[in-house]
Amino acid sequence: MANLESKIPSGALPDKWRKYKAESLKLVNPANKRKYEVIVVGAGLAGSSASATLSELGYKVKTFVFHDTPRRAHSIAAQGGVNAAKNYQNDGDSVYRLFYDTIKGGDYRAREANVHRLAEVSVNIIDQCVAQGVPFAREYGGLLANRSFGGAQVSRTFYARGQTGQQLLLGAYSALMKQAGAGAVEIFPNEEMCDLVVIDGQAKGIITRNLNTGEIRRWAADAVILATGGYGNVFNLSTYARGSNATAIWRAYKRGACFANPCYTQIHPTCIPVSGDYQSKLTLMSESLRNDGRIWVPKKKEDCGKPPAEIAEEDRDYYLERIYPSFGNLAPRDVSSRAAKRMCDEGRGVGETGLGVYLDFADAIKRFGEAGVKERYGNLFDIYHEITNESAYKTPMRIYPAVHYTMGGLWVDYNLMSNVPGLFVLGEANFSDHGANRLGASALMQGLADGYFVVPYTIGNYLAGVKPGSRPSVDGPAFKEAEENVRNTFKRLLAPGTGKGGSVNDFHKRLGKIMWECCGMARTKQTLERGLKEIPALREEYWKTVTVPGSADNLNQALERANRVADFIELGELMCLDALTREESCGGHFREEHQYPDGECKRDDENFAHVAGWEWQGEGKQQIRNVEPLNYETVKMSVRSYK
């Protein structure tokens, strides 16, 4: 069984990180740094910032991305903003308050020490980004502007119109390009990680497939960093990019890295509703819209078919303002999503499918004028118009929750190292900072914190114990075995199916449907047990019957998808298993059996105040559930209330 030792440093919470850096973390001398090679997989916020920073420190860095350039990673699509405890608004913010909001927002299922460190370095992130030329929104006096996000009562979110993720990623990308131009980082685009190489229990390399040529290659390193994002595409329909996948972390899982809390999925409340079965993805409408937009449904079922303008003010139910008066429309994501679901379950949903609620800007337009609303949210209104052919200036948006983020991920200790020594995991790919629910504008914060300000320190602590120049040869048996494993997977996928099963997308859609129904916004023992029957059957059918045309030795997008969907199916099963075992409700994990009479999450701190770290035992064997207890030293676990 894996040992999930969190390695949280001793001392008072506010001093841990500072003291740990100063007194405990081992250093690598500058002349030795260039003798170490670090592989970084992924180049979103976490991967780009880590690659750039590690190479600035003097390590030799190789960065792998499946995209055609690092600038395409899906961090680019984050809209709303990035949190930081700068307190520039003088509204009472502080590191402690950001820490506390994040812990509470995560429904007391995150590690205190990690979250406090995140809040501490948040201020450095803004400094760093501004110095890189990130054009954040500013006030007329030239100082940085802020807005509010869900789960907070202060304005601590920095933003660049509705494209904050894009601007932060391009900032990190520019730093990466600077280092690549100087020859300090080698970048391998169109190169997808297909396996992790573990030698004597330590991560020592990866196997990749070049998506343009099909070539399979071996790469050795002194340490491997995975920054490959989340696994929400298990649901098929989500706000993720179509290419976002779990293959790197899932293959690492199969090599011994523990997978923590896979059932913690974030369903974002404000997305454009599903319109048809051809649909390939769902589009987010930024949470920032909830600063000024008001969410409502008709009070009476019979009004649902009417045009919204014909529903009188007194016949509208602004349910978030009604149920959660202190946070109102800015209640956290999990709370808001479930409230929307409850309204629709009551038959008060709007739109063709009845799965939608209104997000109304009429009041904001009265207050700021159409031009004022346009300046704040213009590009989001444009996106809405492009997709729905409706103007949100004239009629309220229709929105519905959609899969948006995964709080679960590979287990890491305080150093962001997995239980496989030498394997580090950053950003959404790890599990560490958001507990059971992530607050808005905290994903960008965590990605950059991990890459710029955490792993550059903690990786030295590991490498200081690795002999310089001890990197293994790629001709060794472990590399050979891993490459064979990858080649076999592709061979099996390409083996002619019976032709009955349909295309890869057909299977992905079926998996998505099972996951949404069995392990979605609300889960029960019954639905999860159903999922655990249907998914293994789907997996078996997939391997027997899926049709994948072409060959593995050139660009073959059907094969790329087939390889990823194979992993989604297995991961989906683990998500159901984790959700079934966690007999409580917390954050994004809502078990209908465990709720208060008002429909809020009922945690079981006595039995479940822990991280579940699943461990692979081999094909066909029961996966093991390891446990890391969550010891709260500073905050008292209590019932989360936004009322």
Binding site: H74, I76, Q132, R138, Q166, T283, I383, N505, N554
Partner: protein
Amino acid sequence: MVAETSSTKNISVTLKVWRQAGPDKPGKFETYQAKDLNPNMSLLEMLDVVNDELERKGEDPIAFAHDCREGICGTCSMVIDGKPHGPHKGVATCQTYMRSFADGATITLEPFRAKAFPVIKDLITDRSAFDLIQQAGGFISIRTGAAQDANATPIPKDNADLAMDAAACIGCGACVAACKNSSAMLFVSAKVGQYALLPQGQPERDSRVLNMVAKMDELGFGNCTNQYECSAACPKSISHDFIARMNRDYIAASFRQAFTAKSTSTAGGA
């Protein structure tokens, strides 16, 4: 052939698609029928449907670049009926919906075409030249951890807003594909313009514009002849004014480089 129907009646279209097996292989147009399409489907979702059918028959699907499908990652890239990113202004290929096409229409799909963007397969091209231009100077040389407080240098809102207009570039390359000279001036000027408008960008302002322009020329992009097809095709509607700004910067930087004294000392410290 632009029709903005709000009707929900399903439509059928004929596709003429550029198929090319590899970089050195010959390419040609192939015809496909796409039937019974919901007009609210995106163009890429229509291609998914066509590809699913091809895959079920064991045939090679049409390779096309795509990822975020919300107009921000810059991956999608095709010429639709002769226009990069299709008939509408200010959107990317992935934001083009079937309601833009009439029932029975023939839609022609080609890759971005430019010497510096060789075709990899079908509708996918190699745009890595943009990364090389960026490496030549598209950054501010600041090490992680060396930054001062973010509010220490106020930046006038108008400058920050204009810098953001330029920074909105998604690096898709439509500007190159739209230009008869395959010029990358709009892409390069957006990056140069963003940094030139910010105080942080000043120390490297001259070397940045000189190096990025030199790299752009070296990689086989053409020159600008001021016809602004680039701005018209840009999914983020980036203004060609940035090209004029870059030209001014380039001339000033060339003069300063020629006439500014430089320290010749190479002495190091103890």
